[in-house]
């Protein structure tokens, strides 16, 4: 059963477990590849995670002169191949979400690879495994569809992913209701 990463942004409590878990994934060399942001840092405590959304047509890979960013058969957009990356940083400029990180010392880009050694075997990625607030979930398409139905409040505000993103993505994002003045119906 193919599963996807699914984000319910407003559940985030800012614990940063996902960042810590990311460091522990095989091949990540103890550095995290995801982000957690305060939405309105001087006013309230709402946070939101920001992950690579694994675009169906990824700008990072399109802009890479060395073909170092490969797309896995599961749809995951992989981190730069260490032997191919030439350190031009085109991908960091191209990514519409600002996800790729660059290590100048190692002359190497690294980004979320959706923990490919896990997800290729259907095991959830590290971030989703540890998320205590169900912000990051690992769901089948049917489950995501059910979520979408459950949360569709008929006002066009609560839909997954498009049109709030720049293109079709493999990771599905649910837009937060709380900040748009809608109460979430669990």
């Amino acid at each position: 059963m193919k599963k996807r990463l699914y984000l319910e942004l407003e559940n985030c409590i800012g614990c940063r477990s996902c960042l810590a878990a990311c460091t522990q994934c095989g091949g990540h060399e103890e550095r995290n590849r995801n982000y957690v942001y305060d939405v309105n840092p001087l006013v309230n405590r709402q946070t939101m995670p920001l992950m690579c959304l694994h675009c169906v047509n990824p700008a990072c890979a399109r802009s890479c002169p060395a073909q170092a960013i490969q797309i896995h058969e599961t749809g995951a957009v992989l981190s730069a191949l260490v032997e191919k990356c030439i350190g031009c940083q085109n991908c960091t400029i191209a990514c519409p979400y600002g996800i790729p990180k660059f290590d100048t010392e190692q002359n190497l880009m690294y980004k979320c690879d959706l923990c490919i050694d896990r997800t290729k075997d259907g095991i959830p990625p590290m971030c989703a495994s540890v998320c205590p607030s169900n912000t990051l979930q690992w769901l089948t398409d049917e489950e995501i569809e059910a979520k979408q139905k459950q949360f569709n409040l008929d006002n066009g505000k609560w839909v997954t992913s498009m049109p709030y993103l720049e293109g079709e993505t493999n990771v599905k994002v649910n837009l937060p209701g709380i900040l748009q003045g809608v109460t979430k119906l669990f």
């Binding site: 995290n32 939405v39 002169p65 073909q67 032997e83 400029i93 600002g98 996800i99 994002v173 837009l175």
Partner: protein
């Protein structure tokens, strides 16, 4: 093909007219070049080592694969830009230093780990040494003659460059260069295999066809090559002709495989010098200001190039707020995304991003 037609139109009756494609032209010129060098090197084809005839054919096939792979690759829009601008900037003052760092001593790999650096130095320089010996011998650009008893003359491109004692140290290094290379490569490959099998992080990323096969091929070449020496010295040449065929087979298979697998990064690598020059040169000229926070984060040239390359791929990240996403620095671009999710303009809040790096 289309690109080729376009160049023909531009240049009119140029030499490009004579060839059906870039591939045909590159292939023809290279083979002619090799033939001319052979003609000179072998003193008008009088000193060809026909023992190595198989390698010669294998090399020509390899060159075919190489051009096929790299011409296709060079047609990609981002690659084309880097190659074009990289060649233009090749005469920068910093080029020799960058080239030595990236192509000879692999500084960036040392920063990825000492073990990996040692392993890469052994494999890399072992292979370079082997190529420097093998190809001149295959095309007879270098050979040895014995005029006086006990002395070898080393002939390079038809010129007698050195007169050495057959028992001397230079002669010893010449006979054993390939053995030394084989020992270096074997040691490096064993280190690489050990790391792949024992290090769980490395193991997670490895695939047989991509990561292990090239190592096994290099090991196959090195071991069969060392066995040749072993058979000569210890077994008085027993089964040596058979083994030399097996060795030849292993080299030719690896050569043909080279442009299509992990080893393709060897001919790719000079691009990293291009990329560094490109960033440094255009960075000195004019830096791009982030449309939100005003930070200088990339050169104007690169920003425009990326926007253009994405345009070729039908990707336009022009926002209603009046900027292209490639014009925001990375933290601002991430915050802008949060603002798109939440409806609140996070990127306008003048607070630096914090607490983003977990300690593993």
């Amino acid at each position: 093909m289309q690109a080729n037609i376009a160049t023909n139109k531009e240049t009119g009756r140029s030499v490009n007219h004579a060839f059906a494609s870039h591939f045909a032209k590159s292939m023809f010129l290279t083979v002619v070049g090799i033939a001319i060098l052979m003609f000179i090197g072998t003193r008008m084809f009088t000193h060809i080592d026909l023992n190595l005839y198989g390698y010669m054919v294998g090399t020509i096939v390899f060159i075919g694969g190489f051009f096929y792979r790299f011409i296709a690759w060079g047609e990609r829009p981002p690659t084309k830009i880097i190659i074009k601008k990289g060649l233009k900037l090749l005469l920068r003052k910093s080029t020799p230093k960058t080239a030595v760092n990236h192509l000879a001593i692999y500084d960036f790999i040392r920063n990825r780990g000492l073990y990996r650096w040692v392993q890469h130095i052994l494999i890399g320089w072992g292979c370079v040494l082997a190529c420097l010996v093998t190809f001149p011998l295959v095309f007879s650009w270098m050979y040895f003659t014995m005029e006086d008893n006990g002395y070898y003359t080393i002939v390079l491109f038809g010129m007698n460059v050195m007169h050495v004692k057959a028992e001397g140290i230079i002669a010893w290094f010449s006979y054993n260069a390939l053995n030394i290379a084989a020992i270096m490569v074997t040691a490096g490959v064993c280190m690489a295999l050990y790391r792949r099998l024992s290090n769980m992080q490395a193991r997670a990323e490895q695939k047989f066809m991509y990561d292990f096969l090239p190592l096994y091929l290099l090991l196959f070449i090195s071991i069969t090559g060392l066995l040749l020496t072993f058979q000569n010295i210890v077994l008085h040449g027993w089964m040596q002709p058979q083994m030399s065929l097996i060795h030849q087979f292993s080299v030719i298979v690896t050569l043909i495989y080279l442009p299509f697998g992990k080893l393709a990064h060897i001919p790719f690598r000079p691009m990293s010098v291009f990329a560094r020059n490109y960033r440094e040169h255009y960075g000195e000229q004019q830096m791009k200001e982030c449309k939100v926070c005003g930070d200088h984060f990339v050169s104007v040239e690169q920003s425009n190039d990326v926007i253009q390359v994405l345009g070729v791929n039908d990707m336009e990240f022009n926002m209603q707020d009046g900027f292209n996403l490639a014009e925001l620095c990375l933290p601002c671009r991430r915050k802008y995304r949060i603002s798109r999710f939440s409806g609140f303009a996070t990127h306008q809040v003048k607070v630096k991003e914090a607490n983003q790096n977990a300690k593993g």
